[in-house]
Amino acid sequence: MLNVGNVRVPVCHGATRRSFLTAGSAGLAGLALPDLFRLEAHGQVAETSRSQIKNCITIFLVGSPGHLDTWDMKPDAPDTVRGKFKPIQTNVNGVRICEHFPLMARMMDKVALIRSLHHKTGATHENGQRWMMTGHDFNPDAVKPHAGSVVSRVFGPKGDLPPNVILPGPIGNTGAGPFHGQTAGYLGSAHEPFFLNADPSRRDFKVGDLEVPTGDSATRFDNRRRLLDQIDELQRRTETRTTTAHDASYERAFRLLTSSAAKQAFAINSETDAVRDRYGRNTFGQSCLMARRLVESGVRYVTVNHFDTVFNLSCWDMHADGGGLNNTYLDYERHLCPQFDWAFTALIEDLQQRGLLENTVVAVLSEMGRTPQVNGRGGRDHYPPAWTNFLCGANIRGGQVVGATDKTGSRPVDSPVEPPQVLASIYKGMGIDLDATMMPGPGDRPIRLVEAEPIHQLFR
């Protein structure tokens, strides 16, 4: 098998028609071509709108930072609530954030904080991941697609690069099952995210899925392509089921393998040392730099996962449990906050200097908050009733705070916000008219991209 992104392309030996069909049709649930053409005829996927849609970079803080220790501090609360860190004034009058984000404090005029996020489902990482990345609760019978897959389905790619990329790789074990809201779900394999599956901070970094296997010549590669085209033609003549999704998957796979633009987009080693240093020589920092390169090269939706697990490593999930989840305030102070502050501000400055920030929504999201009471071990545990995320870029009006929590950060007391509203706001920031744009639902009936209204206060 030849792996290209997430698409397994059968090779000459061992490729039977049955296995080819199985590989190609796995996960299919797209619209029939006539249905797609009908939607386009009704202007619901207008050709002109594709070129006007802005980009999105989502940074997903896997493990979830405590809101009381980062962006919604309560310095006047009892010491069992306020935690160890102190707030500092930012360049927005009256807005204070954690002392360990000094660079971000200088650019809060660009950032819109949402301090009143909450959800009412279980306090697992996975619930929050699915809410924030799909806008929906979990339904195993109709797995909802990642927002980037929605954008891929409705607007398609801009060029040879996939429209939806996730860096540096998929979220793995976060404790409660395999569904993290980062698949195309019922939209089918043609709209699966492209996972980099490599660490761009490594000296030997390369995107393995863009490399033709060693020993394969261009002739053998072309021969395989011709064989697949022949099998495809046979299938079209003998089958009645729509194969739009698998055709698109293979087409995308071959475009990636042969596109010089794709190879150049991922060539992070072409950046100067000064730029790479400014983002931070670590997986997260270099992934943020890669995200800038990708939107610059035409990728519509990039997600950067800050961590791919919560177990046995330094991450935001500060239970301080003395075991596999033993993150504490020291991890925040020495590792996580400086790393985030350095990379996030580098990304915003870089996007702005290149004229990309006005065309890119940057969303920093996480699964939930952390308990207002510091636990008996000096950490905080999961807490969905309140947390803070933030947006900037595009036509997001920075320098503001949406919503507020009570004196202990326990619950929203002003403008409570639910996860689908954040996704609706991201779509609106990208220039998508949610009232006029539809997508196929699980049963092919057209539906809205997300069942929520944007937070109108966020926009200029």
């Binding site: 000094p102 490593l313 993150n327 400086p338």
Partner: protein
């Protein structure tokens, strides 16, 4: 995947004017916490966070003695901690020359 910080070590150049230390841009910056290490008469006197929002430091203690200042960065190896809550393998490491002055 856990993060590995095994590439070229970060480096910065310190210069001294009076008692004010200025650091250069950190090359090969890991992006982790920076701090100033101050010794007085050969003994550790203070560790002070060195936020990236600034590049200078002046130690407030003006009592007589010989002061030496270096810049350190946190080096993450793993998240393991001892019973006292402190990291066991990860630690601060020096990344600059030392500057000295005597009061």
């Amino acid at each position: 995947m856990d993060q590995k910080y095994d590439g070229p070590a970060p480096m910065a150049e310190l210069t001294l004017r009076g008692r004010r230390v200025t650091r250069s841009t950190v090359v090969n910056d890991w992006g982790l916490q920076l701090r100033w290490l101050v010794t007085k008469d050969g003994k550790p006197a203070a560790t002070v966070p060195a936020p990236r929002s600034g590049d200078t430091y002046e130690h407030p203690d003006a009592t007589p003695g010989t002061y030496e200042i270096t810049l350190q960065t946190w080096r993450y190896v793993n998240y393991a901690k001892g019973a006292d809550g402190e990291f066991t393998a990860s630690k601060f490491i020096p990344i600059s020359n030392a500057v000295r002055y005597t009061i």
